[in-house]
Amino acid sequence: MNHIISVLVENKAGVLAKISGLFSRRGYNIESLAVGPTDDERISRITLVVDADERSVEQIIKQLYKLINVIKIQKLEPSNIVERELVLIKVNADSKTRGEIVEIVNVFRANIVDVAKKTLIIEITGSSQKVKALQDLLRPFGILELVRTGKIACTRGSKY
């Protein structure tokens, strides 16, 4: 089962290595990982998606807390968060197929950010399901490249 863990860390060299190293040496897999500074530049947020059972996630969180540079950890409940992922998809598109692709893109409220003779680059943000649905529809045209940021998430409401 996938869990989203949001980790606030001190923004220092080597911190990401300490976190990713912890995952590999304790035998846990990271599905996706997104890192960037918060509003306070001394602090970064790492959003991790891990595939593990409940007990392992508990253990992961406890082990993460032991890292000195880790400030705060939240396990995000899927029912109460806004989650987003940004994906860039480079897809085959010639004069015959371009129109059809543009229609699909519009339905998904995605954006076309680059147009070339034989390709389009589509930018989509949203949940994993939404991205996957678009991906499935574009696949018949030939997806040349797909780049994703990894999931980021925020709890709903005034709680933080």
Partner: protein, 564 residues
């Protein structure tokens, strides 16, 4: 504003942390530091291999309760520390390792003697620093000592580029050691403690399981008070030996693979385990699904990650063992006042019977020198008042089984990592920290050869440790496993007649005694203890003696192999 060099700043900071001794080995990228050390009154013990600097710092820390310090140069000097650091990490021992690094401008270029030591040791340290700005240097050192010695202690490494050691810095720079992400819990949750006290009061067959955390926390006294007031038998782990006097009728000694049969049976029969500062390591539990089948568990530990890691816990209490046990005893005393406690005389009688039925034993009538006999004699002749260090393997288990530990910090042994070659350098560190004590390394002929160059360290610094070598000509523990589980195929475990240990210690300027007859054992130990020098006693013990009892790997601890 007076300026000093980074190297002088290191010394200044070490002094501020109360460091009066460091173990180390110089090299190209720590020459400035060693130059500053030359002018300081910090005693530096020059080891002969960096691994032993880390082990000696570790032994020093275990014997004194203070943080041990070791120093090495960049590259190979630093990588040689790794085993010692990993060893300290597994046993939660506070050490600070300082390594030199190539110039900042050279980092990442595969420069001569460059190694990414912070990257290498991250998995086996509590924390690491690579100092890239001289202003961070005093902060890193202050934080390192705080982190190493508080919470669940552990090793911290500070990697310092050589050009930082020579750069100038304001001597009185203000140091802010604010650590936002580091706040170990000390005080236990009061409701949990109350629940625990009630649970204990209702238990008919409880045991206390005391580990290294009790010793680290200085909780030994309160643990004894609590056990005696509540009339609960005490089992220890290897790391917990000394936390409860093994001469006390309530003591069941050590449990586990080579623990006492009565401790293992008490675990199997008990209804409640009050675990303090232990991590339920596989060498203790044996087959997890069959460990203590009837027991509920109260787990007291300062590291929340240990709770529920290996076994299911009914009442977790996170915090410092001493603080929690003090509160727990207070709550339990209330239960006694209200007469809510169970009568446990039946259980105590049962435990007493187990102790009588299954004592630790060996063939006392044998004419050969039995290793257990040597250890018993060491116990007798030191009055149980020595600090015992061990190597790893059979020697370690005999030292654990046949010497009775009555005080904390009297057994210094590589518990978690099981590092052969730990005992000799650790005993050097222990003796430096506790010169008033007799310090003995109970060694094996395999382990000692991994670090025998350290005799030079001991002799030249007049660190008069006594090495009691249980020489059986084998890598004995592996040989024992080969005998039991691999059809006696002794692949690469026979090391008979490989070295004359008496000549070896003499070559280093120490004193060697050889003992080949049982009746010589006692005199040799007495003589060794009386000589004012480093002494090695080479006991030619029964070659194929095994450590009993034993739980086969992966088996239940209720099922022990015993000698016939």
């Amino acid at each position: 504003m007076s300026k000093i060099t980074g190297a002088q700043m290191i010394i200044k900071c070490l002094k501020e942390e109360g460091v009066d001794v460091a173990f180390g080995y110089p090299g190209g990228k720590v020459i400035p530091l060693y130059d500053a050390l030359f002018d300081s009154d910090i005693r530096h013990i020059l080891v002969r291999h960096e691994q032993c600097a880390a082990h000696a710092a570790d032994g020093y820390a275990r014997a004194t309760g203070k943080t041990g310090v070791c120093i090495a140069t960049s590259g190979p000097g630093a990588t040689n520390l790794v085993t010692g650091i990993a060893n300290a990490n597994m046993d939660s021992i506070p050490i600070v390792a300082i390594t030199g690094q190539v110039e900042r401008s050279q980092i990442g270029t595969d420069a001569f003697q460059e190694a990414d030591i912070t990257g290498i040791v991250t998995p086996v340290t509590k924390h690491t620093y690579l100092v890239k700005d001289i202003k961070e240097l005093p902060v890193a050192i202050k934080q390192a000592f705080l982190i190493a010695s508080t919470g669940r202690p552990g090793p911290v490494l500070i990697d310092i580029p050589v050009d930082i050691q020579t750069e100038l810095i304001d001597e009185n720079i203000k140091v802010d050691i604010n650590l936002t992400g580091y706040k170990p819990t000390v005080k236990g949750h009061l409701k949990q403690i109350k629940d625990a006290a009630k649970k204990i009061a209702r238990s008919k067959k409880p045991v206390i399981f005391s580990g290294g955390g009790v010793i680290i926390s200085g909780a030994s006294e309160i643990l004894q008070e609590f056990a005696r007031t509540a009339r609960i038998p005490v089992i220890t782990s290897l790391m917990g030996k000394g936390s409860f006097p093994e001469t006390d009728p309530l003591s069941l000694g050590m449990a586990g693979m080579h623990g006492t049969k009565y401790a293992n049976l008490a675990f199997t029969e008990c209804d409640l385990i009050i675990a303090v500062g232990v991590r339920f390591d596989d060498r203790i539990t044996g087959k997890l699904s069959e460990f203590a089948p009837g027991a509920e568990v109260i787990h007291i530990d300062i590291d929340p990650a240990e709770i529920g890691k290996n076994i299911k816990v009914l009442i977790p209490i996170v915090g410092d063992a001493k603080t929690i046990l003090t509160d727990l005893k207070e709550e339990y005393d209330k239960c006694i006042e209200k007469k809510e406690t169970q009568d446990r005389e039946e259980w105590l009688a049962r435990v007493k019977k187990l102790k009588e039925d299954f004592p630790l034993t060996y063939d006392r009538k044998s004419n050969k020198i039995k290793p257990a006999y040597v250890v018993e004699k060491i116990y007798e002749l030191t009055g149980g008042d020595a600090i015992i260090c061990t190597e790893v393997g059979q020697n370690q288990m005999w030292a654990a089984q046949f010497y009775k530990y009555t005080k904390p910090r009297t057994l210094i042994s590589s518990g978690g990592l099981g590092t052969m070659g730990f005992g000799l350098p650790a005993s050097i560190g222990a003796k430096v920290g506790r010169p008033d004590k007799t310090v003995i390394d109970i060694a094996g002929d395999g382990s000692i050869q991994m670090v025998s160059q350290e005799f030079a360290t001991a002799v030249s610094n007049k660190i008069n440790i006594k090495v009691m070598l249980l020489n059986n000509g084998y890598l004995g523990m592996v040989r024992q496993w080969q005998e039991f589980f691999w059809n006696k195929r002794y692949s690469n475990t026979c090391i008979k007649e490989s070295v004359d240990f008496v000549k070896l210690i003499e070559a280093y300027g120490g004193v060697g005694l050889r003992v080949t007859k049982k009746e010589e054992v006692e005199d040799a130990i007495k003589k060794a203890l009386s000589i004012d020098n480093v002494v090695l006693v080479d006991f030619h013990v029964d070659c194929e003696e095994n450590v009993y009892p034993m739980v086969a790997p992966g088996a239940s601890i209720s099922n022990m192999l015993e000698s016939v």
